[in-house]
């Protein structure tokens, strides 16, 4: 399958996580890359173009994997791409400082039979230790070219690409003749005979090994007897699978081990032999990373250090940059520099009143509110990207796993929760790094309970105006968020819905290294650009819709641009729903509308209150705001709690839906968030009123019932986990 020279080559980049794969991809493709999603799974799909000697190739950055087993979505994406889509050539990047585990993946890649080249990365570090790798020897052991590179410094890349082009042009599969033990090879040969003709001939050995391992996906997807399968007569097919099962079971009995364990064990044994012949390494008792970890993950200092670090990041991005720059962006940049000049220009140009209002208040006001958060998000993401790139993130997961596991999450859930205090959208996206499906979903579901920066104005309004600046109100908002995450985790992890197939928590603690400017910049750009894209699409449309609903209505019997919000369409909608909030203490149309409009963007809550209580501007007097809550501070607090915990803004919701990849999960999440916020606000208002005024009524009883239900959900025994399917059933679709 030699490649014809007129279409661009397809180069697949494969390697372990932390092998420098992203750095290599960035170095090969520069700014030509774009990110997408593999269909059906939440795994990034990155593509870019690389040039060498006047030729061009498409480089596909496959997700980092340790193996081609069928168990994580990363593994499935990678192997499906390699075996089904068939790139012209594979570049297998190997971290030379961690050569043993990296070569284990190589053995599986070489079995596939696609032309490939090995890029041996970080050899400079190996030499610094005084170690050496016989590159020629490695190349002849594995039967493919091995090229020494430094992804970081960009050396060896031209040679790598040239070798890749040559391998693709020749189209010769790797000359890889590693042998398993006699009994395994015997079984593989018999299996190969059975499946011959039913699988692509160039991947025969790969399929034989996968059949031997009882790989669920291969067994379920195979059509061993194509002719009969078409006639819906599976008898022959089943008989063949039965034969294979007999061969595998026989071999397992002889070797007293399970088939996957035999293959994995013998593959590592093979790697050990190759390394013994080609690598000269001095065994080091403690590496530099371990010395750093002696402090960073220390039993006593580890956690305090972590707290200080996170506090510093939070202080710099949210308090320093957020407080100063976001205010500047909102008032000065958007308000004085854009809205005011634009307004006068439009007025001079003779634009109609409604058009001026649409552009200045509707579009720029709406989108601008979101854009204002960008500087603070850049700083937050920059600091997080630094931690990510140097290797500290996996240490955080190591430190905190114990805590989060209790709430049905993993140590990796901390990062999404932290980002969520900035913005829920990137937070939900960052949950992708959590391998276990139920832990990932739990993280997505609870992440937006944390008060994001768009909710800060609401907290400030309630703390400052309603409570007259009492110190405890603002911190209590965070307490409310954290408590909701914890309690929801405890309650929900007991549901059957959250019991997924058991998979182990195996977490590599990669060697520390200095972050690279390019990786950090690209990571920040990835996150910011998707946020900006949403601001100019969904938020733009919604801003126009909100503007229309709040500016138009019936006055004097005809549909006009209203002079008072009381007559607007939005007021009528508010009246329609206000009764829902009576038990929460704010059952009037103004507070209702503020909450409803909060779904477009949480900043809206405060600006709507501003408009509705004073008629102009955000500056509102305490009495007029308190009037919203019937003069009860407790109702104001319940209003804040409801809006903090409720369904996040529409941008976050759309992100949540796409990341959940399931309508049932998305609906469950929305229903849960709505019920949780309502229940918490109900208890706050009813018990608060009981304590403050001594009022006891139907509402109080309802709150007691809700509290009892919550306690029951917390304390009841968990439902059982579904049985782990160990042997794949021979099911054909």
């Amino acid at each position: 399958m030699a490649h014809s020279s007129d279409t661009p080559l397809k180069i697949a980049l494969v390697g372990n996580p932390n092998s420098g794969k992203t750095t290599l991809f960035n170095a090969l493709t520069g700014s030509s890359q774009h990110v997408g999603n593999w269909p059906g799974v939440t795994v990034d799909k990155k593509e870019g173009r690389a040039r060498q000697g006047g030729r061009e190739a498409t480089v596909i950055d496959l997700p980092g994997v340790y193996s081609l087993a069928p168990y994580t979505s990363e593994e499935v994406v990678t192997r499906d791409y390699l075996v089904i889509e068939e790139p012209d050539v594979i570049i297998n990047i190997i971290d030379a400082t961690n050569i043993e585990r990296n070569l284990y993946l190589s053995t599986q890649l070489l079995d596939i039979g696609v032309p490939q080249v090995i890029a041996l990365n970080m050899m400079d570090l190996v030499r610094k230790h005084g170690d050496e790798v016989d590159i020629e020897g490695l190349s002849s052991e594995l039967g493919v070219p091995v090229v020494e590179i430094s992804a970081l410094r960009g050396t060896g890349l031209q040679q790598l690409l040239q070798q890749a082009f040559e391998a693709a042009d020749e189209g010769i599969p790797p000359f890889f003749n590693r042998k398993f033990s006699y009994r395994v090879e015997d079984a593989l040969a018999k299996i190969a005979k059975i499946i011959y003709g039913a699988v692509p001939p160039e991947h025969l050995r790969w399929y034989a090994i996968k059949f031997f391992e009882r790989d669920e996906r291969i067994w379920a997807g195979a059509a061993l007897d194509a002719e009969h399968k078409r006639q819906e007569d599976y008898t022959a097919h089943r008989a063949l699978l039965g034969q294979i099962e007999g061969i595998v079971a026989g071999c397992e009995a002889q070797l007293d081990d399970t088939a996957p364990s035999i293959i994995t064990g013998e593959s590592y044994d093979f790697v050990e032999r190759v390394i013994a012949r080609t690598v000269n390494r001095t065994v080091e008792e403690r590496t530099t990373s371990e010395k750093i970890d002696a402090v960073v993950t220390h039993r006593l200092f580890g956690l305090p250090l972590f707290v200080v670090l996170i506090f510093a990041i939070y202080y710099v991005s949210v308090t320093l940059v957020g407080g100063i720059v976001t205010g500047f962006m909102n008032h000065t940049f958007i308000g004085h520099w854009i809205q005011e000049p634009l307004m006068s220009a439009l007025t001079r140009g003779g634009a109609a009143v409604w058009l001026r209002s649409l552009i200045v208040d509707g579009i720029i006001g709406g989108v601008g509110a979101v854009i204002s958060f960008i500087p603070q998000m850049i700083v937050l993401f920059l600091l997080l990207a630094l931690l990510e790139d140097c290797g500290y993130m996996s240490r955080i997961a190591f430190l905190l796993d114990r805590v989060f596991r209790r709430f049905g999450m993993s140590g990796r859930s901390f990062i999404p929760l932290l980002i969520s205090t900035g913005c829920g959208v990137p937070a939900i996206m960052s949950a992708r790094t959590i391998e276990q499906e139920s832990e990932r979903r739990m993280t997505i579901l609870t992440a937006t309970f944390m008060p994001c920066s768009a909710k800060l104005p609401l907290i400030a309004l309630i703390a400052g105006v309603v409570f007259g600046g009492v110190w405890w109100v603002a911190p209590s908002a965070y307490f409310l968020g954290i408590t909701s995450v914890v309690l929801s985790g405890l309650i929900l992890k007991k549901l059957k819905r959250f019991k997924s197939k058991i998979s182990p928590f195996v977490l590599e603690l990669p060697a520390y290294h200095w972050p690279t400017a390019r990786n950090v910049a690209l990571s920040v750009w990835d996150r910011i650009s998707s946020f900006v894209k949403k601001a100019f699409t969904i938020i733009l449309l919604l801003s126009i819709a909100v503007w229309f609903l709040s500016r138009f209505g019936f006055e004097g019997g005809s549909f006009v641009m209203v002079s008072s919000l009381d007559h607007s369409l939005v007021a009528h909608i508010g009246d329609l729903f206000a009764w829902v909030f009576i038990p929460l203490g704010f059952g009037n149309w103004r507070a209702t509308i503020a909450s409803l409009l909060g779904f477009t963007a949480k900043e809206q809550i405060v600006s709507v209150i501003g408009i509705l209580t004073s008629g102009q501007g955000v500056r509102t007097s305490a009495p007029s705001v308190l009037a919203l809550f019937g003069g009860q501070k407790v109702a104001g607090y319940a209003f804040m709690a409801f809006n903090l915990l409720c369904i996040p803004c529409v941008v976050a919701v759309s992100t949540m839906i796409s990341e959940m990849k399931s309508r049932s999960w998305a609906l469950f999440t929305l229903a849960y968030q709505l019920s949780w916020s309502y229940a918490v606000a109900l208890m706050i208002y009813q018990f608060g009123m009981l304590m403050v005024t001594g009022r006891f009524g139907v509402g109080t009883i309802a709150a007691v019932v809700v509290l009892a239900g919550m306690l029951f959900a917390l304390l009841r025994p968990a439902s059982k986990a579904p049985e782990d399917k160990t042997t794949p059933g021979v099911v054909l679709s």
Partner: protein, 73 residues
Amino acid sequence: MRTLKDIPVGGSARVLRVQGAGALQRRIMDMGITKGCLVKVRKTAPLGDPIEVKVRGYQLSLRKADAALVEVQ
């Protein structure tokens, strides 16, 4: 039967086999914890779980529940 979970911090042991089946067994073995290899237990996380081990020249962390699946000599 001794498992990796029973090895004290600072100790080391050779792997006999990894129990379990399917993803559970495979994920642990894919990381290099296979029959015959030497695993050193480096430390326990501040809250007592997970543990950090050194295997095949790199640092790996796994939960105690999963370490209990690794039979050692």
